[in-house]
């Protein structure tokens, strides 16, 4: 029982970057912008999030806000290049991925340099919810977590309500399904794409900042380790829906925690094979499901208002 509770607790803790990056991908995708720069944006988020916290003497909130702001700038660039300039979404996304990756290390090197011992920041504190955290078992798993765990759950819930029971949520879905129809109904396609892409990228920046603030207390090169790419996979088999993405993130987090635990305890299987597990599991799950997934019809395509055409 003890190990099951610990496991569940760790899964909730590990869930956060997947949920944030996955929902961010979903949000932009619902408006038709397919962001493939997650990995780069998360890396920048991890780097500036760490630096913001470190240089302010351990103020994690400042780090998070900085990570979101820089992430938002990447989103703005993606939106401008694709929505306004009609550049190819994949090509632009890959370019931003490259720049994010480069910038993350560069900023860290410029601010910190090469040190023998890594500079450390405090990690995110537990924030037990009064009353609720006393519930046996469940309280430990759900209500004795850091603020971003609660944030990730609430965000998913809010996005679900927004998408499926609000007028603007429906307008947003229409933009990704049929921008021409949405446009003729008076929905501002470009503005919707800007807003969702920027917000989505802010979430990705925050997802990156979570890593040094919870896992390592420091920044290391390439520390996102594919979580950005996995969040794309997550979004696909979460059917571009907030609630299913949340469930998918539970699966990703569980696999990651499992891989980590087996690696530490060792059960006779070489740890390298365990480390392959999250990536192999992702591909295995996609095999039977991918064709049946609901994808926004105009995902990855740009819309030209003057010509009422897709590019």
């Amino acid at each position: 029982m003890e190990t099951a509770v610990t496991f569940a607790r760790l899964v909730m803790l590990t869930l956060v970057p997947y949920v944030l990056a996955g929902q961010g991908t979903m949000l932009a995708g619902r408006a038709g912008v397919f962001n493939v720069a997650q990995e780069g944006i998360m890396l920048v988020g991890a780097s500036v999030g760490f630096l913001g916290a470190y240089l302010s003497g351990g103020n994690l909130l400042q780090g998070m806000l900085l990570a979101m702001a820089v992430g938002g700038l990447f989103g703005l660039a993606l939106a401008y290049f694709t929505t306004t300039l009609k550049m190819d979404q994949f090509v632009t996304g890959l370019a931003l991925f490259f720049i994010g990756m480069a910038l993350s290390t560069l900023l860290y090197r410029l601010a910190i340099g090469v040190t023998l011992t890594p500079p450390l920041i405090p990690t995110l504190r537990e924030l037990p919810l009064p009353g609720l955290s006393r519930i046996p078992l469940l309280g430990v798993v759900l209500f004795r977590q850091n603020a971003l765990v609660y944030g990730a759950v609430l965000l998913s819930l809010a996005l679900y309500l927004f998408l499926y029971s609000s007028g603007s949520g429906m307008a947003l879905r229409a933009v990704g399904e049929n921008p021409m129809a949405a446009d003729s109904l008076g929905v501002n396609v470009n503005l919707t794409r800007y807003l969702t892409t920027v917000t989505g990228a802010m979430l990705m920046g925050l997802a990156g900042a979570y890593l040094p603030m919870v896992y390592t207390a420091t920044f290391t090169e390439g520390m996102v380790r594919g979580r950005g790419w996995l969040s794309i996979a997550l979004t696909f088999f979460g059917g571009w829906s907030p609630h299913l993405i949340f469930l998918g993130a539970l699966f990703f987090a569980a696999v990651e925690v499992l891989a980590f635990r087996v690696q530490v305890t060792g059960v006779g299987i070489p740890y390298q094979l365990i480390l392959m597990l999250p990536y192999l599991a992702t591909m295995a799950v996609m095999m039977p499901t991918f064709r049946r997934l609901q994808v926004p019809a105009f995902l990855g395509k740009n819309y030209d208002r003057e010509r009422r055409a897709l590019l």
């Binding site: 493939v36 290049f81 300039l85 009609k86 550049m87 994949f90 090509v91 632009t92 890959l94 370019a95 490259f98 720049i99 990756m101 480069a102 910038l103 290390t105 560069l106 090197r109 410029l110 380790r225 594919g226 790419w229 996995l230 794309i232 996979a233 696909f236 070489p270 390298q272 094979l273 480390l275 392959m276 999250p278 990536y279 192999l280 992702t282 591909m283 996609m286 095999m287 039977p288 991918f290 064709r291």
Partner: protein, 342 residues
């Protein structure tokens, strides 16, 4: 692509590059100057290191070889508008395949061992790319995702092979035992050592160019990339071509891995993929998928990379500055297309 280009059109194609490079360097230069670095000296080091000494030039060529092959591995599928982000994993798979042959058959004479080793690299890379290619063919799974996921699998595989299967206990870093001497690529120049992989890579790049731009099969590839629906209606087996383009890309990346093993390391070393993948994507995108432009861009990027390392050593300016310059060049090159379209 276009067979008959007027000289004026070629010049017109080069101008945006020159402007992009200039603007990118200027932007990064202002940034560095604000940070208090000696910009002229830094840029002098970046741009001239490769040409000042024979050693620097050979360094650049040694970097150019894997970059060229990996950039081709990205560009060939790009002709069919498929994105191969898995070059790193395919390079590692090729390196492992080559090393497996080089270690297991170490006693063979060079005439047999070297070709077998290179072939094993090609096959390893093709098989590694074959997984995402098959997933795309059979289940329609987006290749951007699966090629990149295979990279992460390959890192663990390389670690496993170098620490558990053929470990070299004398090395501090995860490293395999050496391959047989018959598996070493011959040297073109002995001091500083430059292996014959350069000629091999150039030959393969030329063959790839002919395949993509001057054969019927290559024409189909580009037709699919330009408009898959139209290609399908014209009776081209689109899905099979997607599969083929990715596997071909994997074969090229696998060859790069084999050349690194046979020409440079003579063994497997964790991290032998370096940051070639990122750079190769950059090259492919800057070249805008034009196979003929890839070698030139790859050479320029190799020059920048070697120069950046020298700058980091001598001036303590982080070499990543060059990545940012390259990223800016890419953005400006892409933007120049938009400007011309208007």
């Amino acid at each position: 692509m276009r067979a008959h280009r007027s000289p004026l059109a070629v010049v017109g194609g080069v101008v945006p590059y020159v402007v992009s490079v200039g603007v990118a360097f200027a932007a990064a230069g202002i940034f560095l100057a604000v940070m208090g670095f000696d910009v002229p000296r830094a840029y002098g080091t970046i741009l001239l290191t490769s040409f000042r000494t024979a050693n620097g030039f050979v360094q650049t060529l040694l970097k150019f070889v894997p970059l060229l092959l990996l950039a081709m591995a990205f560009t060939v599928p790009l002709a069919a508008w498929k994105f191969n982000i898995g070059g790193e994993g395919q390079l590692i798979a090729g390196a492992i395949g080559a090393a497996a042959v080089g270690i297991a058959l170490a006693a063979l004479p060079r005439a047999a061992l070297l070709p077998a080793l290179l072939l094993a690299g090609v096959v390893g890379g093709a098989l590694w790319a074959g997984v995402p290619a098959w997933l795309l063919y059979r289940f329609g799974i987006n290749e951007i995702l699966t090629t990149v996921l295979m990279n992460f699998v390959s890192f663990s595989l390389l670690d496993y092979v170098t620490t558990e299967v053929w470990p070299d206990p004398a090395a501090g870093h995860p490293t395999s035992v050496s391959i047989g001497a018959g598996g070493h690529l011959p040297l073109l120049v002995s001091s500083p050592p430059l292996h014959a992989g350069l000629l091999l890579a150039l030959g393969v790049a030329a063959a790839t160019y002919v395949y993509v731009n001057h054969t019927a099969a290559g024409y189909e590839l580009r037709a699919v990339g330009a408009n898959p629906r139209a290609a399908l209606l014209h009776g081209i087996a689109v899905r099979r071509l997607f599969l083929l383009s990715l596997v071909l890309g994997g074969a090229l990346a696998g060859l790069a891995g084999a050349v690194e093993v046979a020409g440079v390391h003579h063994r497997l070393i964790e991290g032998l993929q370096s940051n070639y993948l990122l750079l190769s994507i950059l090259i492919g995108l800057i070249a805008k998928g034009n196979v003929l432009a890839v070698p030139f861009v790859a050479f320029a990027i190799a020059v920048l990379d070697v120069g950046a390392r020298a700058m980091q050593r001598t001036m303590l300016i982080p070499g990543e500055v060059v990545f940012v310059v390259e990223g800016l060049i890419l953005v400006f090159v892409l933007l120049s297309d938009v400007v011309r379209r208007r």
